[in-house]
């Protein structure tokens, strides 16, 4: 699966620090061996994410300087995290799809459809009769179902992901409008708001959910065969096929996974807004993809980083928080946001190049 971009310098670059001392061939090799393992991993990962950490730190600095206590305030931090939580969960799922060589434009629409479905009158009645978790389950199932359709179209139908999910974008939002009759559906299920909008150890439940999804995502990507295979499918689908991985099934599962994440995000959004609506999740696709790619996951697949994605999400959220704290005009915000995206990416690239092997 092809090239990242025609322009990103793919040509091997000379190593940065030329040791002028002549080293024996074997000596170089044993050096490398000493370097390997944990230390090397830390170095590489730090290198890859260092730019993001610095960008985030700079942003926070700006926040503190301009916003003072209001920014550093614990309530404000929680506000930022709460805001990051919903799009964060979607972005974690998106990391898998992108690392696996795909893309999904329909996440926002799936969030909308899930939110509408799980707040539909019939669902609410069911939930009231039994338990509020019925709603959550509905949302996740609807999301996973949409993901399944995407996955089937892409993996077995051979439709390119961009188009398949574009179609899903239109259809799912349309369906959400049909179901909700374009009305905002208010949640009225006992126990739901209490359970979802409370705090746990001083941290909002939503933030916990995000943290758990991120942690699970990290383990799944880095410590399981599923994650390994995702990177293999994204990095070289033909090699993965020849290695006996059923690329189609795996690809399908990636979209189902992302769909389920959208379902989780939907229920989080429902608890935040106490409503389901066909307008929920507008433009999530761009936000999520931007966070994932800024985080360092390769858009061409084959490399993914959950830590980077989380940092990417936080950068965007902190950004809009700072803008609001400083009462900036919306238009100026846009301009600055564009600039910051570019600067963050350039910074990250320079640093990654410097530290990676």
């Amino acid at each position: 699966m092809s090239s990242e971009t025609p322009t990103t310098p793919t040509a091997p670059t000379a190593p940065p620090a030329a040791e002028s001392a002549r080293v024996e061939r074997e000596a170089v090799r044993s050096d490398e061996i000493a370097d390997q393992g944990f230390l090397r991993m830390v170095r590489t990962t730090a290198g890859r994410d260092l730019g993001l950490v610095i960008a985030l730190a700079l942003l926070c600095l700006v926040g503190v300087v301009t916003g003072g206590d209001r920014f550093a305030d614990i309530d404000n931090v929680m506000t930022i995290l709460r805001l990051a939580a919903v799009i964060g969960v979607v972005s974690i799922g998106m990391t898998f799809v992108i690392a696996g060589g795909g893309i999904d434009l329909s996440v926002g629409a799936i969030v909308a459809l899930s939110s509408v479905w799980c707040t539909a009158l019939s669902t609410q009645v069911m939930a009231t009769d039994s338990h509020w978790s019925v709603m959550a389950l509905t949302a996740v199932l609807v999301g996973a179902g949409c993901g399944l359709v995407n996955g089937l179209l892409i993996a077995y139908g051979g439709v390119v992901p961009f188009i398949a999910t574009l179609a899903m974008l239109a259809s799912a939002r349309g369906l959400a409008e049909l179901i909700s009759d374009r009305k905002t559906q208010i949640v009225d299920v006992p126990g739901f708001r209490e359970a979802m909008s409370g705090d746990l150890l001083g941290v909002p439940v939503l933030v916990w959910i995000f943290a758990i999804v991120a942690a699970l995502g990290w383990v799944l990507l880095n410590r399981t065969t599923f994650g390994r295979r995702t990177l293999a499918v994204g990095g070289n689908a033909e090699a993965a096929r020849l290695a006996g991985i059923s690329v189609k099934r795996h690809t399908m599962m990636l979209y189902v996974l992302l769909g389920a994440c959208c379902g989780i995000a939907a229920i989080m959004l429902v608890s935040r807004t106490t409503t389901g609506s066909s307008t929920h999740g507008t433009l999530y696709e761009l936000d999520a993809i931007a966070a994932v790619v800024i985080g360092g996951t390769l858009l061409s697949g084959g490399r993914g980083t959950i830590v980077g994605t989380v940092l990417g999400v936080l950068i965007f959220t902190v950004l809009s928080n700072i803008f609001t704290l400083n009462n900036l005009s919306f238009s100026a915000q846009s301009v600055v946001k564009g600039l910051i995206i570019v600067v963050a990416v350039l910074l990250q690239q320079r640093l990654a190049r410097r530290t990676s092997p």
Binding site: P15, A18, R25, S30, T225, R228, L242, G244
Partner: protein
């Protein structure tokens, strides 16, 4: 043991592991295999010979279930089998090292070795255990210097080949298929490979070995099957003592002299150098590289894999930035780090990895040939498509690119024919200086001698040629002058006639003639 192809007695012979009969594989527009038979016995090294495009790679892809054949039967240890998926083939104990490296660049060595069969407990990978096992396998392969946790994308092609090998050996293998494994290896590494192969055959593992280098087949092979145009034309030939002429005749259908073209008479040292390289250095890779190439001269660069020859060529070409030194063509210094400047000055490069560095795989043959000379077919930026095609047709005809038809996407050509397309590109360009990195890698004997002749003819027409090759014999036979590179430094320079193979090898290994 010579059984010419034909009716075989039914039923398995003693020791017979694999029997393929009447395999037919069709690609859109091409009949790649039109009835191939193959028998392999346990413990033997069975060599598959054939010209570029004869169908060798296709056959073994059918065997490893990467492709499904349209017709034909496969019997494994006497039992008929249907290989529906690569996993089914793997389960039988068939391991394959493909001609095109089939690794995932973004994963580590360990991860690639166990890809699809990860060591895991409940879905969680057991990284350290896997790493340990990979380290053992690598040691057994004699390459303990390869770091199991390095990313495969960062490794040299030779090291990647070793990873593929480790992958094949990481599970119980009864039949190991090697599709031109030696193409990216130098002589020492080939020797190492042969040692591993002998160990395996001693354990009863069968090997299917594909190579265009007859001397290797003589050394390691037991029996030979020859393919021509998608058919088996001979099978069970003894590898050691079938005459070369007969093999070539079987492969090509004609007699070809497998010799290097004669060097022209007369002294060229009076001519002005066309290419002057002065104290060229590439950060950390090579330095102090100084040499001249005169018009009509062929200079060979010999050295071990990883000694920096490719980098020297790429730096001369401007594809990498030199940290010091200059390159001049016809007396004019080239702008540093600019391929365009080099091409404009009349330099051409046939890079080492043609798939990733040279070819537009999904585009037509003619477009690949003309891409560097588009200006020639254009007036005011508008292309004369038919002139373009006609010229490409002419060139591919003269290089005998098969199958014919310049509209065909390059992806569908066999490896050797793809190489010819790359050469055709620079022939068309009519360069002053031609840099060839492993020009005959994966090229069959017939085409090989044609390419040698071609290179010589170019030189005779006044082109300055630099050839990098891992086959010392090739460097010595083809070049007028030889540079031996060791760890990024030129350790010897002199006429090819004044040094022999063992001399070069000594230089390469020790840095001095023993």
């Amino acid at each position: 043991m010579t059984e010419q192809s034909g009716a075989q007695p039914q039923g398995a012979e003693p020791g017979e592991l694999l029997r393929m009969r009447g395999i037919v594989k069709r690609f859109p527009g091409v009949l790649a295999l039109s009835g191939v038979d193959l028998d392999v016995r346990a413990g033997e090294v069975h060599c598959l010979l054939g010209q570029n495009g004869a169908g060798k790679s296709t056959l073994i892809k059918v065997l490893s279930a990467a492709y499904q054949p349209e017709e034909g039967e496969i019997a494994w240890a006497g039992e008929p089998v249907r290989l529906a998926t690569p996993v089914a083939a793997m389960r039988l104990g068939i391991s394959t090292i493909y001609q095109e490296l089939d690794l995932v660049p973004g994963l580590t060595v360990t991860e690639n070795v166990f890809l699809g069969r990860e060591l895991s407990r409940g879905g969680f990978t057991r990284t350290s255990e896997a790493t340990g096992r990979v380290r053992d396998i690598l040691r057994r392969l004699g390459h303990s210097e390869v770091d199991p946790s390095a990313l495969v994308g960062d490794l040299s092609p030779a090291a990647q080949q070793i990873v593929s090998m480790a992958r094949a050996l990481s599970h119980d293998t009864r039949l190991l298929i090697l599709d031109e494994p030696s193409a990216v290896l130098d002589q020492e590494e080939v020797r190492n490979l042969f040692r591993v192969i002998r160990d395996l055959t001693a354990e009863g593992v069968a090997i299917v070995y594909i190579s265009h280098r007859l001397e290797e087949i003589r050394e390691i092979g037991d029996r030979i099957t020859v393919l021509k145009d998608g058919r088996t034309v001979a099978t069970g030939l003894p590898a050691q003592d079938t005459p070369t002429a007969e093999l070539i005749k079987l492969m090509t259908g004609r007699a070809i002299e497998y010799v290097f073209p004669p060097r022209p008479e007369g002294d060229r040292s009076a001519a002005d150098p066309v290419l002057e390289v002065r104290e060229l250095a590439g950060e950390g890779r090579f330095r102090d590289v100084t040499f001249d190439v005169r018009a009509g001269e062929i200079v060979g660069l010999a050295g071990l894999v990883g000694s920096g020859r490719s980098e020297i060529l790429e730096t001369v070409y401007g594809a990498r930035r030199a940290s010091a030194g200059t390159v001049s063509v016809a007396g004019r210094k080239l702008r540093k780090g600019s391929v365009r400047a080099a091409v404009a000055a009349g330099v051409g490069l046939a890079p080492e990895e043609r798939k990733s560095q040279a070819l537009l795989l999904d585009q037509a043959v003619y477009r690949n040939i003309t891409v560097s000379s588009l200006g020639r077919f254009a007036r005011g930026g508008f292309l004369d498509d038919s002139a373009e095609r006609a010229r490409a047709e002419e060139l591919s005809g003269s290089l005998d690119v098969r199958p014919t038809g310049v509209e065909r996407p390059v992806r569908t050509l066999s490896g050797g024919n793809q190489q010819k397309v790359v050469l055709a590109r620079w022939l068309l360009r009519e360069c002053k200086v031609l840099l060839l990195d492993e020009p005959t890698r994966g090229v069959d004997v017939g085409a090989r001698s044609e390419i040698y002749k071609l290179i010589r003819r170019l030189a005779d027409d006044g082109v300055a040629v630099v050839v990098v090759s891992s086959e010392v014999e090739e460097v010595l036979g083809l070049a007028d002058r030889v540079l031996v590179v060791r760890e990024g430094r030129v350790v010897h320079e002199g006429p090819a006639t004044e040094i022999d193979e063992s001399g070069v090898l000594d230089l390469v290994m020790e840095g001095e003639v023993a």
